[in-house]
Symmetry: D2
Subunit: 276 residues, 4 copies
């Protein structure tokens, strides 16, 4: 369960009381009071004999109604459903598929969508349906509509842009707001936009990075979920930075997807609270 | 406050109830259930109008008595008192003194003890008393007795061995058990004992490290509080590793001291729980 | 080209003279004088119109004969041939195969050998022959002989043990000495032998690691090529360390294989010189 | 010695020939051909019986004149002279002074200049003259003139801005171009200008950083010498980032100063070649 509400005394007491009432055993518990907005954030994993997660939610809602917040309750065994979008670069996709096949990523992947055919064979190896949705300036609106339909049809919980190289329209961004994770191949806010490794080379930075963030209509400005960097020297040219950066990109994206899949990421304003 | 007890349902409920009763506002809260020993560990920072921390402890003890654990309550404004021991190397000491003078380390340092005179001037600059306790094979027992007396006289909460190059006797280790932090200049358990950087050079490792741990009578085997590493190459010789390692040592030790000063480190068996 | 010889003045002058004579253009050049053994090590990449690498070698040998060292010359377009060995864990193998398919690893992989069937399908996807060589106490000698035959038949330059879980006999170690890279799932010299993550958990370390090293008959004592670490906390149990460690293992092994493939690793005594 | 010139065959041969002629023993040698500008960069440490470094320079110049480049020759025992500038924050200054006193920084520090009195006592402890040069909008021109005079009077090789919080005029920047190192408290190009930690907090980044760069008239746009980062979480507020960032700042600046002091940094266009 996760819970977000305006901070005030008594919340923890109420939550732990409700859990005790259900004879729940707390496995993990993290909380944080965001000082600027005064938002209390909580995530708890617990186990209970109560099989019906709807009933659990009803009990918790009753106890927590007084705090006027947002409650989510999820049975861990029901995995979140993820739609992965990709263009031509497959390094992030292969990492997600590999970790998924190893049981490291607790999600279901009902389909992979691409505007190209390049990754079809890779996806087929893992037995996952591949939907080809080409896009041109003229067909962008229809393509995005089809995408939203696919999200609905497949009961997708969140979308992962694994180096999907199309800018999404403001409408699509709004439709999947808070439910879409993008990987940008720079350490944001440095090097927004196109060809960030070439920008990084030109600027002569000594570390390159990658940033996983929620998609918003403001390009490369969405709330950051995870970032990491890698040391480089004068001896690498822009093309070598592109190759070296792939490792950082896939690790950063995979971590962000895993945390999202485990409900560890709570959005507060334009910043994320990540419970680890 | 910190609390450790055998894990069972209801602990969080009881703690949050007691705090609510005192109209305390929780600032930080971390908990962890150590699975092997079944130990529940909790650390909470809270603020309350109740000025008397003894009264707070009485209230909490009453509520938590049923769980049979260990409770500590400390008023943050009353800083822990630290005795620093040093021999000839001053890099860890200078880092502690500097951070202390900057307000980064929330401790009081009533005195620095050394078996040499080398660091006297440095310590004098910071206006801290310097006690010279030389040691030989013959005088070791007396020297250690004097040290224990100093710990008592100055109401020292914990001792920091900032590259103190003497092996402590089993008796002294027992006397300050859980209250003494040492920095070892290797990434333990690799390279125990003397000249670890020379051992590291001979073995040809690609990273060197440092380890802050609680002192036990089993040399370099105490519970680890913090570790970190630094990349090296074939091009550094053992003496250069010694110099490069100083940076890691002082950062690792300073972090460990800060966490101990903030009651973030709980000892469970031979492992530490570090709440960050 | 790489060159190793006892250090004395004039080597660089002789090498650069020979290259100038062939109108070679130096692309990369690294050198290091190992102080303990007094060994001069050099690696140079150069391009020249001279197509015949045998002729190049003859010229260089003539110039360098006076220094009495070891010279290697390789045409970059003729990739080194790598035999990968694996047991059941596939995370290192998949990383090598992926990077190979992406063109990040400049090697040819004529075959993968395993004592189990588990990775057969994965290897088949990449169109690489899979040789199943099961092993029991009784058949170990024959199995290892067959392996040496495969190394010869396929003109293998070096062998990669990508989590191959069998201890090699002293005879096999000798046969492939300096030509076999193993990944050990700990930060050596800590946690040699079996179940290193469980050892790491028991010791309570705050960082876990992995080590790529040359295989020697002295288990986990071979010259280290590359190491890296990852931060962990009290909250991860041994099984979670196993999962988290996979990422470090595969990165460390892939880097070591890449460097070996590019002739960047020179062995000097029990230590490696790695030119980056 | 360092040497920079347009790249063409024969440079290494000429340099090694000249050194051989002086019976010099090469201790370190690094070279790099910057591909965009076609600049060959070289740095060599060597020892020779020839005591007169002017004579050495004459010999080298004669041999290298044909390549039309820039040559520097320096006797390592004659340390470079550094003027440190500081305002109120002393964490970078104390790190430089400490490392200098430990012999880790091979420079002479004839004076520290500040627009405030705050660091006077600290500097006095190390026995270094402290020059107070206050500055207002009206006196800026004179203050900067006085600074340039001090640079000349004290034969200063380079200037270090150790959190000097004044923007330098374009004239001053030009006067000390390539000879002044600044530390900016963000991972450039992110968060230029004022209060970068507060900007970082607002953006919700997961790593904070620091950047040492050459001063140019284009604020925070100078060639980068070194950068590093540190992980942060949602739980740190802007003030805590300020404190945590101090560690990165001082390490990054100290490394940059050390490399500059050892002639390891060569400027090529707007990027640096750093030989390690």
């Amino acid at each position: 369960m996760t819970f977000r509400c305006p901070d005030r005394p008594g919340i923890v007491y109420a939550v732990s009381g409700a859990l005790l009432q259900m004879q729940a055993n707390i496995i993990e518990k993290s909380q944080f009071s965001e000082p600027i907005s005064g938002t209390f954030c909580l995530r708890t994993r617990f186990e209970t004999d109560e099989a019906d997660s709807t009933h659990i939610k009803v009990v918790l809602e009753a106890e927590l109604a007084q705090f006027g917040g947002t409650l989510t309750v999820r049975n861990e065994e029901v995995k979140q459903r993820v739609l992965i979008m990709v263009s031509k670069f497959e390094h992030c996709l292969i990492d997600l598929l590999y970790r998924h096949s190893e049981g490291e990523l607790p999600v279901d992947i009902p389909l992979v969508v691409s505007n190209h055919w390049d990754c079809q064979e890779l996806v087929a190896r893992y037995g996952i349906p591949y939907v080809h949705l080409p896009v041109t300036k003229e067909t962008k609106r229809q393509q995005e509509q089809r995408l939203v339909e696919l999200v609905d049809e497949h009961h997708v919980d969140f979308v992962v842009l694994a180096r999907y190289m199309q800018v999404l329209s403001a409408e699509l961004c709004a439709a999947i707001s808070g439910r879409a994770i993008n990987i940008h191949h720079s350490f944001l806010p440095g090097f927004k936009g196109a060809k960030p490794y070439h920008q990084a080379y030109d600027r002569g930075v000594k570390l390159i990075g990658a940033t996983a963030h929620y998609v918003t209509s403001d390009l490369d400005e969405g709330p950051i979920i995870e970032q990491d960097v890698q040391r480089v020297t004068h001896a690498q040219n822009a093309e070598q930075l592109v190759v070296m950066g792939k490792d950082v990109e896939r690790q950063v994206l995979s971590r962000a997807v895993k945390w999202q899949a485990e409900d560890r990421v709570l959005l507060v304003g334009n910043r994320t609270v990540v419970f680890q």
